[in-house]
């Protein structure tokens, strides 16, 4: 069944929401009349394997380049390096002697084994290699959000466009480079870990496609097209070639799969026909391996009935995410500021100070009304704070504290410094006022899928397990009887 991915009709024409949909004048129901707004992770997943993007879209499985057990270590690794560089930026340079102590202090709340693994296998080799190179540089920024609804990808003489968004690990304006940091890779590698080069290239594609008028004022004169792209593993740095037709082609194929699987143009069977690996030679580095392979246990015996009932929820749950979240992303990039204010989403102001995790924003109290309404009507104090622009900036979870005259005070956690003045406050992603929390649909997909796969092999265990018995009653032929009858 494995067929080459190349057998795809490309490019696909991407449907963005029309104005009446953007303004929410159309009832949010059934299959959305627009295509998804993918993240870089979605595109990387789709380019790896159509079944990976199927699991991503329908079963809520995230980044397949990270193995399920690696998330904690990966996150700690990223956070510590960012912490270190931010300290160096203000002249606080660690020595090789105290670096371990600094890490221990930084990670003191983490579990011992996770901390130990992170240090021994990833941070130590990284520090050995990089510590001497880190320079005082205030122009390094971490977790920079980029998005554009019209990113061009070359195909012959044409430049079809697709929407794309993501978060860049590191941008160094002084040395003009972008870094994708990963814990993958070995000392002896001569090439970057699979797809990491493609990933950093996708970020760069977004960044270099943004019209200057949408860039934050302070960064308007920067030519991101010149930036060097680097994949950084604990052991090596790899420079990525930007002019790579293979990446362009890969992107087109990935978008074709995303579109088709999202709108029913293709289904499970076509995705499996093009699966990148097989049962006998499955990819042990794939984060979705557990979802593809593995034993279907004997119990519950009604597994096919469970699948039949559950699968009908997967596409509508994804459509819900599109209505609730993808549409919001299109709105931010395609609507005018006035439209967003009228929808009650946007309150814009100017950053005055950022000290000790508190940000002070100057804002007309009338503009701040939606923030107060959310707080008063449903007790929501979490907000999405965007510093910069919706195309390029920093997305921060910000907790509303108070408003005094024209000064809005919010708690933003560990952020050290931000280069822009423009601050936009939006409902948080989990706001129940804006839409239903989209991530709950994703969790539902994942949990339903896990339940489809879950079970027992041994008769005696299954016979006494209440969940198995319940599943057999609901989906199978077992009769439920009350105890004592």
């Amino acid at each position: 069944m494995v067929m080459p991915m190349e057998e795809r009709a490309i490019p696909v024409s991407w449907r963005r929401p029309e104005r009446e949909v953007l303004l929410e004048n159309r009832y949010k129901y059934s299959r959305p009349p627009f295509d998804p707004f993918p993240t870089v992770t979605n595109v990387v997943n789709a380019s790896k394997c159509p079944v990976a993007i199927l699991h991503d879209i329908l079963h809520g499985i995230d980044d397949i380049t990270i193995l399920p057990g690696e998330y904690g270590v990966y996150d700690l690794y990223q956070r510590f390096i960012a912490h270190l560089k931010l300290h160096v930026a203000v002249g606080d340079i660690p020595s090789p002697l105290d670096i371990r102590y600094r890490f221990e202090m930084f990670a003191r709340a983490e579990e011992q084994r996770l901390k130990e693994n992170c240090w021994r296998y990833y941070l130590q080799p990284w520090c050995n290699r990089k510590l001497g190179e880190i320079e005082v540089n205030k122009d390094i920024f971490f977790e920079v959000s980029v998005a554009n609804a019209y990113v061009p990808f070359r195909l012959g003489n044409k430049n079809p466009t697709y929407p794309l968004r993501g978060r860049i690990d590191e941008i160094d304006l002084k040395n003009k480079r972008m870094i994708e940091r990963t814990i993958k890779g070995r000392r002896t590698d001569e090439e970057p870990p699979p797809l990491k080069d493609f990933q950093v290239w996708l970020y760069w594609k977004i960044l270099s496609s943004i019209d200057k008028k949408y860039l934050p004022e302070a960064w308007k004169d920067i030519n991101f097209k010149d930036f060097e792209l680097i994949v950084e593993t604990p052991y090596n740095d790899f420079i990525v070639e930007k002019d790579n037709p293979e990446f362009e082609r890969k992107a087109h194929i990935a978008y074709a799969w995303i579109k088709d699987l999202a709108d029913g143009g293709k289904s499970e069977f076509e995705a499996y026909q093009h699966r990148a690996c097989t049962y006998a030679s499955s990819d042990s580095e794939c984060g979705a391996r557990w979802a593809c392979f593995g034993r279907r246990y004997k119990y519950p015996t009604c597994r096919s009935e469970i699948h039949r009932e559950f699968r009908k929820f997967y596409p509508p749950l994804f459509w819900q995410q599109m209505w609730d979240y993808h549409l919001f992303r299109y709105q931010l990039l395609m609507l005018e500021k006035r439209d967003l204010e009228e929808l009650g989403y946007l309150s814009e102001g100017k950053v005055i100070t950022l000290e000790e995790g508190k940000i002070e924003i100057e804002m007309d109290p009338r503009i701040a009304t939606p923030i107060l309404e959310r707080q008063v009507s449903s007790g929501e104090i979490e907000n999405l704070l965007v510093i910069g622009s919706f195309f390029l900036g920093f997305e921060i979870d910000a907790r509303f504290e108070r408003i005094e005259g024209r000064r809005l005070l919010m708690n933003v956690g560990r952020k050290k410094f931000l280069p822009f003045e423009r601050a936009m406050v939006l409902p948080s992603e989990s706001s129940i006022l804006k839409t239903s929390p989209w991530f709950l649909s994703r969790i539902s997909q994942k949990e339903l899928f896990k339940l489809e796969r879950w079970g027992f092999e041994k008769d005696e265990k299954a016979e006494t397990h209440s969940v198995i018995q319940l599943l057999e009653s609901v989906f199978g032929r077992k009769n439920i009887r009350r105890e004592g009858h």
């Binding site: 069944m1 009709a9 289904s267 499970e268 499996y272 049962y279 030679s281 279907r296 009908k312 997967y314």
Partner: protein, 282 residues
């Protein structure tokens, strides 16, 4: 049985699965040049098959318990079941008296499985007081909705007569139930309007594929690799039958359902999530 022999048979099973996954037809999959110890092990398990391409693990005969307990054995057994179902589908599809009955049965099965997601304002407008009442009513309406479709789209007056050949099969036959409920459901869905839009090829494709889906489900197929085997065969049959490619069939269905959604709007609102009712099985 010796452990080494179990290992040999497991390897032969793995080869079969791998060949199928790599796109080989079932008839071409799993063959290996004759080797004495392989031949011996397969024979010991009663799973020996010999052909022009050599020997392979047989698709017939029961699998011993210790093989079924392995992941490979379990998957192979599931695939064998899938191959059997594919052959059944081929037989049904080639039988002209069964073809239309199969499509109608599948169409009714699709309607039933959808549970009809409808906007609540539409229900209240038609006098339903709660969702529970709607769910009871729709389970009684499948027969009427299908028979009206059969009449208008298939152009067949007597559905009962067409469905008669199904008596000797395991395929589901829609049952006539509470007519009053059915009429109310018909009104909520504006079914007569829907039938003016629905195309015959769309109904045939949906019906056929949902019937296949019923067989997959009732055959207790558990592995996606096995489901794909059946779906591949079924789509090939459908392409031949409708004389359109898979892509064209999918587009045709989506376009037709989009039209249903568009033409049944009420004051600018969709009355039902039509893509969850008239849909290709996933």
């Amino acid at each position: 049985m010796k452990k080494e022999e179990v290992e040999i048979v497991k390897q032969m099973i793995q080869q079969f699965i791998d060949d199928v996954e790599r796109g080989k037809a079932v008839e071409e999959a799993g063959w290996k040049e004759k080797e004495r110890d392989v031949e011996h092990a397969l024979k010991r398990f009663g799973l020996y098959e010999e052909g022009l391409q050599g020997i392979r693990v047989s698709l017939h005969g029961s699998l011993p318990e210790n093989l079924l307990k392995t992941e490979e054995g379990d998957m192979f057994s599931d695939m064998r079941q899938a191959i059997q179902i594919s052959e059944d589908i081929l037989r049904i599809a080639e039988n002209s008296s069964l073809q239309t009955a199969m499509e109608i049965s599948g169409f009714a099965y699709m309607l039933k499985a959808s549970e009809f997601p409808v906007l609540s304002h539409r229900l209240f407008n038609e006098g339903f007081t709660d969702i529970g009442e709607w769910h009871t009513a729709v389970s009684n309406a499948v027969y009427l909705l299908t028979s009206l479709t059969v009449k208008k789209v298939w152009g067949i007056e007597d559905m009962k007569e067409v469905l008669k050949p199904l008596d000797h099969t395991s395929l589901p036959i829609p049952e006539k139930k509470n007519k009053e409920d059915a009429e109310r459901v018909k009104r909520v869905l504006k079914w007569n309007k829907v039938l003016e839009i629905l195309e015959l090829d769309v109904c045939k494709a949906l019906g056929f594929l949902w019937c296949v889906d019923f067989l997959i489900s009732s055959g207790k197929i558990r592995y996606p690799e096995s489901r794909i085997l059946i779906q591949e065969k079924a789509w090939k049959l459908l392409e031949k039958k409708i004389r359109k490619s898979i892509q064209e069939i999918r587009k045709m269905v989506i376009k037709n359902v989009d039209k249903v959604e568009e033409k049944t709007l009420e004051q600018g609102f969709a009355i039902a999530s039509w893509h969850e009712i008239l849909r290709l099985p996933w």
